[in-house]
């Protein structure tokens, strides 16, 4: 039986690496970079054998001709991001082995747990994977199991379903036939707008961000599910549903409050959240 050693959620903002690299970053960026360095140390400290990485594709890999709600990647290698993302954001590439056996086992176990994953033997990972991985595991030495979620192409599954799928993934990991140490890293974001009238330099709805991080921090699943509706998220910013990957993590954590969580509000670009559930033996829910 596999051991779940860490549950972590951070932002995948493709702007954040560039913001950190500026000659004089604003204080919130310096603080967020510090948060993320602590997250890196935290994940390393749990000594995972494999990282289950939950993130979204931004209509790069998957499109509305065959749009999966939830998909497990099981090709032997994962590489990204897409060339146009590197050109636009100047972000670094990432390359990792895929732990194919674990990916296949998860796929085999999923129907019993009530989840219908699509699967892929040929894919790239976009900035939603590569940006967080470059923060949390810059060594590129840890095999991953990529799980793609649809937060971009409506109809997107509602928060309730993301929570349930998170709970199911937890049971799938618990039932894995290997005795590997499994870390989970999810990426998402809070309120953000791209290509809409509210697009600006900071969070498109700081109130939403504070409210949701408060609820996440308290493990208040009920109110997160009630409040994080499609309409409310759209009102906060038209790309805000990336938040749903954090709701999935709440399911993975079985509704328990994270041991650490927080959010920074740079004036430039969207807010930068983090959350992690305790990895001490026996301390995970």
């Amino acid at each position: 039986m596999a051991e779940l050693v860490e549950i972590m959620g951070i932002s995948h903002s493709p702007n954040f690496p560039g913001q950190i690299a500026e000659p004089n970053p604003e204080p919130a960026i310096v603080e967020a970079a510090h948060d993320y360095e602590l997250m890196r140390q935290r994940m390393a400290g749990t000594k995972p054998d494999v990282l289950v990485m939950i993130a979204s594709d931004h209509l790069n890999q998957f499109f509305m001709d065959n749009m999966p709600a939830f998909l497990i990647g099981k090709a032997p290698r994962a590489e990204g991001p897409f060339p146009h993302e590197m050109r636009t954001f100047g972000i670094a590439p990432y390359r990792a082995d895929v732990e194919v056996d674990v990916a296949k086992s998860m796929l085999q176990l999923a129907p019993k747990m009530g989840v219908d994953f699509s699967f892929s033997d040929e894919f790239r990972i976009d900035h939603a994977f590569t940006v967080p991985l470059n923060f949390i595991r810059p060594e590129m030495d840890l095999p991953i199991v990529p799980i793609f979620t649809n937060v971009m192409a409506p109809p997107v599954p509602p928060a309730q379903r993301f929570f349930e799928v998170g709970k199911a993934i937890r049971r799938i990991i618990d039932a894995l036939p290997s005795n590997k140490r499994v870390g989970v890293l999810a990426s998402g974001h809070l309120a953000i707008e791209i290509g809409g009238p509210k697009e600006g330099r900071s969070s498109s709805d700081p109130e939403f961000d504070r409210r949701m991080m408060n609820l996440v921090g308290r493990g208040d699943v009920e109110n997160v599910i009630e409040e994080a509706t499609w309409d409310r998220m759209m009102a906060s910013g038209n790309v805000t549903p990336g938040f749903l990957n954090f709701v999935l993590l709440m399911g993975l954590a079985d509704g328990k409050a994270p041991s650490v969580s927080g959010v920074r509000f740079p004036r430039s670009k969207g807010s930068v959240p983090y959350m992690a559930w305790d990895s001490q033996p026996g301390a995970l829910p």
């Binding site: 209509l59 146009h84 971009m152 109809p155 290509g195 809409g196 009238p197 697009e199």
Partner: protein, 95 residues
Amino acid sequence: MSKFQVDKVMREAILDPKVASAFKADTEKFLEGRDLTETERKALIDIDYATLYRLGAHPFLLNGFTRLVWKGDKAALNAEYRKNIAPFGYPDFST
């Protein structure tokens, strides 16, 4: 209603610089045979992003696409983009 087809054109251009060049070189030819309404076709030819936005083009794709194929001054585009789409609020962009 061919939002999917509009999104598909925009995405193809974003993913592949060669497609973007072909789109820019001769948009009418590029769009031949695609199942678009005349309004959509004209809006794509004119890079009339405000109309595409109003019709429910995916805003994430529209944002990248417009900047990619824009022929005029990009600083001016950035200044005006939000203002020009604001009247249309938040159209449903589900396909």
